[in-house]
């Protein structure tokens, strides 16, 4: 009985090695290479994808981006992808306008008509990203 079980296990493992370990992996790598890091947001809302893509392109990496909202979700993806830029809690802006010793990112996505008053803050959600100015 044990011989049968281990044979089935190994045979199944070989099948999964080929179908998952090789074929599925090659496909996943190809998809990632085609999309770039924004691939991580493929299950996020379209607005969040657009905002994340804009930030990945536009944000200087020596700046800090202010954030609010839930930590779990899209901010978990955005923060490491913006490395070495950092996300800093919106309440932690220093009197001189810096955050954690860095200049705060003040850009504005061109498709959002919010003016340029205040400081932009990204608002994290499970599968969403919002953009407000405080």
């Amino acid at each position: 009985m044990l011989a049968v079980l281990v044979t089935v296990h190994v045979a199944f493992g070989v099948v999964r090695l080929v179908s998952g370990g090789i074929v599925k992996r090659v496909r996943a790598v190809a998809e990632y290479e085609e999309a770039g890091p924004i691939w991580h947001f493929r299950h996020s809302e379209p607005d969040a994808q657009r905002l994340a893509a804009w930030l990945l392109d536009e944000m200087p990496r020596d700046h800090a981006l202010l954030y609010e909202g839930v930590m779990q979700g899209n901010l978990q993806l955005l923060a490491p992808l913006l490395f070495p830029a950092i996300l800093v809690r919106s309440s932690a802006v220093a009197p001189d306008g810096t955050a954690a010793g860095r200049p705060v990112f003040r850009g504005q996505p061109p498709w959002l008509d919010q003016g340029t008053a205040g400081i932009p803050v990204i608002v994290g959600g499970i599968s969403s990203l919002g953009w407000v100015r405080r």
Binding site: M1, H9, K24, I86
Partner: protein, 461 residues
Amino acid sequence: MNTRALVQDVPWSLWWIALVAVFAHGALLLGLPVMPWLLPLTGIAAAALNRPTRPLLGQPAVTMLLAVAALSIAYGSVATPDRSWDGLATWTINARWLAVDGTLDHPYFRDPDVFQYARGYPLLQPILLALGMSWLGELGGRLLFPALWLLLVTGLDGPLGRAGLGERPRRLAVLGLALVPLFVEPGGGGAASGFADLLVAAIVLHAAIALAEDRPTLAAVTGLLLPMAKTEGLIHALILVGLAALAGRRRAALGAALGACIGLALWVPLQQQLRTPDLPVGWASLLPATLPAVLWALGSAIHSSRTRKVAIVVAVLAPAGLLALGAFDQTVIGQTLRNLARLELQFGALPAILGQGMLNLVHVRKLGLTFVLVIATAWIVHRRCGLGPLRPLLAALLLAGTAIVLYLADRPPQAIDLFLREGMVRYTAQWIGPAWLLIGLGWARLATHPSPSTERTTAPR
């Protein structure tokens, strides 16, 4: 055992990881940088401690399959940066910050207002990854992952050979472990995913070998590494210490307790610095580091018939006393123990957790038939000749399963679904090495206790 034998008790690769772990954690505690030179220097020191040997993989078909799997994992690791959530968001980002200058002196680590989802997560894997990155680049450093997979897979052959298992079933067991789909395939928890479950699995297998063969230095090294590898590693280390002591594996128990105490003494103060940067680290933060020693003393006392009754009373009262004092309130384990003691668990979720736990045993797509084989092997060995020396390993698997259930029952209600869906099978996979060790040692036991009526139909020959 003489000094030479004690040193050679641990494979070269594990010595290497342990030396990096000790020196890097020591440096970070002292506020010194972890320099890239630490990697080659500790590698040379490890080779001096125990000469590297080429794993004997046997039949060409086995070697070829292992090579294909290793190459597939290597390709998945280095083709792109992280493609899996926790690898990206939790483990590799810590490594990238560490790789900047080898220190924790960045707002990312030190400023609680800076976004860091993995605040206070163990640093062993990020340290190894950062050192690899400093020599081989961002992607090249990820060769760590196929190396860890090989450490897991090639670790099984030795103990099965020493148990007298024939070459063919031995290779079959190695292949069985190597082809567990969860680690070979892409996706969360896979070897190339950047999650730390593979590192834990590799260490846990060697811890189980130390337990099975009563090996002191191997137990010490694995006991040292487990708390530094992942939060639940402390639980794994305590299981190792407790079972070794209860089973009378005195050398392994003492080694594991010593190693885990040292590992915790190096990691817990550092973890407290990272989790609560505003609070000073006091001597009280070292209190959890005594837990393995206390457990060793209690387990050894319970093992001895002279002190058993008193030890059992102390074992029941001591945790209650410590909890009443709030001694461990600042630690993850302290909080879990406190919730356990107060029965503040999600009891309503227990049926779902237990159900998912049972399903995981037959989660063929992720774990193959591993746990079906564990149950079948244990049952046949029990019927034919008694479990004998396999008991501690089986107890370790049962305790690990219980710990996983309790851990999930301690999660916030809104997080339990996610843990059931995605986390539980990874926690189970951390014990895949001991499972295959038990299977192989069970076959070896069956081979030395043949039954006339069943010898042709049970263990693979």
